[in-house]
């Protein structure tokens, strides 16, 4: 299996580690296609290193971005990748399979750091901002925070009814925000697992949570179709943006902390794509409204300010730049 070169489109120049776009280029723009020998159903991208991992057909492939060069291929045998994640610095990546098996690899060496077993298939798999911890939970179960190098249990969070459906570390890794099945947003001390605050203003299951850059607020989205801002320390709702047409399924704050990207889920058929919005955090003003032609299989706000999204295609993975 090999990953082919990333082609350039529309005159965009793909330099090492950075897709540079002429100032006059209109965004969003498709900036390349990654040709993979194995069709990928998901891709995760590091934010500070030009590396990504694709998963599909029981194989993981570590590739360089943006040239798409295959760095490593891992045969998963009969394991299915139910969850896939990579540390923001690209140092480790992990999968969770349908039987609850978690494996964490060293991206550079391809060596397995550790294996871990959940009692059923994972609902969450999230690295801390510095890549040293990994939060995971079986569907419906409590969240366990592991040392990402050794697998040693560092902390456990509460065991809410319905489990935890969304989770995020603050940028300083001091806090964890959990969106729980009972509709609550809970903030924990990431080192001890101590509950710091709770918000129960949402009626529906939170589908996405993110911290603002300063860690002071949690942004939460759900089937309530509103974006709610919550004071991380007190749990009080401080702001709600106007109602949207669909549930918010993913939230990412820009590296400079000034914008927030939200991906909506088409509730009547979550297999079909829906809009992505970029909004200014301070005012809520919409900066970009984009309807992709296919359901994105990955996306990441890179540390240099680019927001990349990957769409599947018959001829490979189509890399889009939204910012």
């Amino acid at each position: 299996m090999s990953t082919r070169a990333l082609s350039t489109i529309a005159g965009l120049v793909l330099a090492a580690g950075c897709a540079t776009t002429p100032p006059e280029a209109k965004l969003p723009a498709e900036i390349g296609i990654i040709h993979t020998a194995t069709p990928a159903g998901a891709i995760v991208m590091a934010t500070t290193k030009p590396v990504a991992v694709t998963a599909g057909q029981h194989k993981l492939t570590v590739i360089s971005l943006p040239d798409g060069t295959e760095r490593r291929a891992i045969d998963l045998g009969d394991r299915s990748g139910d969850a896939l994640t990579i540390a923001p610095d690209g140092s480790s990546f992990a999968i969770g399979d349908h039987s609850g098996g978690i494996t964490v690899w060293n991206t550079e060496t391809g060596q397995v750091r550790f294996d871990f077993k959940l009692r059923r298939y994972p609902g969450l798999l999230v690295f801390s901002s510095d890549g040293t911890r990994l939060a995971t939970a079986a569907q419906g179960d409590l969240v366990q925070v592991l040392d990402a190098m050794t697998g040693k249990l560092v902390a456990t969070l509460g065991a809410p009814v319905g489990g935890t459906s969304a989770l995020a570390f603050s940028r300083d890794d001091a806090l964890i925000a959990a969106g729980d099945g009972d509709g609550a947003i809970r903030v924990y001390d990431a080192h001890t697992g101590t509950l710091i605050s709770e918000n129960r203003d949402l009626l529906m299951v939170p589908l996405a949570v993110a911290f603002t850059a300063d860690g002071a607020s949690v942004i939460a989205g759900s089937g309530d179709k509103v974006l709610t801002f919550i004071d991380a320390r007190t749990g009080k709702s401080t702001r709600r943006w106007e109602r949207t047409s669909q549930p918010v399924a993913a939230i990412e704050v820009s590296p400079d902390g000034k914008s927030v990207a939200t991906v909506f889920m088409k509730a009547e058929n979550m297999l079909e794509p829906d809009h992505s919005l970029i909004r200014e955090l301070s005012s809520g003003a919409v900066q970009l409204d984009w309807l992709p032609r296919a359901m994105p299989i990955g996306g990441k706000w890179m540390s240099d300010g680019r927001l990349l999204v990957v769409l599947p295609g018959a001829d490979g993975l189509h890399l889009w730049r939204l910012r």
Partner: protein, 214 residues
């Protein structure tokens, strides 16, 4: 002297009848069986209902309304009943049974509470609701109804009810239930009994819930 203000329990009655030679049991039925029938809440054990995930569309504060089917609703009328027990076989009066499902077209109501309910089990642990057979949600393999069941002293349970008539199972749910990767036990796939009423056919399903004790 017997205190006539205290009625005999079924268990005491059986024991007294047995002692007096006045107890006649059907072939194959022992006194122990009869005692178990008389007092199902003692010593009985029931396996807990298998777990299934809560999904993305649970909504708090659903109405306490068992009649979910309204006039004009499309879809096969569905009547679901069951009892809520703990693993010791004790009926859980007052257990809350929250259910939510897609409509006939496979769409969930996120803006309101159509096909959502929060029911309370009665003195016998019984719950029930009148609905329609849910449609196939596009991102899921099988028709299903979500449950969140809670009772004091018991672990909360999220699970889902599936239907043996679902074409996905090809008439053999025990063999084919894993066609939906979210179904971890064939026990969640229940038989559907069709009855005819003046208003037309109704699908009837019994779904007993057993909660683990804390």
């Amino acid at each position: 002297v017997e205190n006539r203000d205290v009625p005999l329990s079924r268990r005491d009655l059986i024991l007294k009848c047995a002692a007096m030679g006045a107890l006649t049991l059907a072939p194959g039925v022992s006194i122990a069986d009869a005692l178990a029938w008389a007092d199902p809440q003692k010593g009985a054990t029931k396996p807990p209902t298998p777990w299934d995930e809560i999904g993305p569309f649970y909504k708090r504060n659903a109405p306490h309304e068992a009649q979910l089917r309204a006039a004009g609703d499309k879809g096969l009328p569905l009547s679901v009943t069951g009892q809520v027990f703990d693993t010791r076989g004790q009926r859980l009066e007052g257990a809350t049974v929250e259910i939510w499902q897609a409509d006939d077209a496979g769409i969930y109501d996120l803006d309101g509470y159509r096909f959502r309910a929060a029911l309370v089990a009665d003195r016998t642990g019984t719950y029930g609701f009148e609905s329609i057979m849910p449609g196939h949600y596009p991102a899921r393999v099988c028709q299903h109804i979500h449950y969140l069941v809670q009772a004091p002293g018991c672990k909360a349970l999220t699970t889902q009810l599936y239907f043996a008539t679902d074409p996905v199972f090809e008439g053999d749910p025990a063999k084919n239930f894993r066609k939906d990767p979210l179904i971890e036990s064939a026990d969640l796939v229940r038989r559907v009994k069709m009855t005819k009423t003046a208003a037309g056919n109704v699908a009837n399903v019994t779904f007993e819930i057993v909660l683990e004790r804390l």
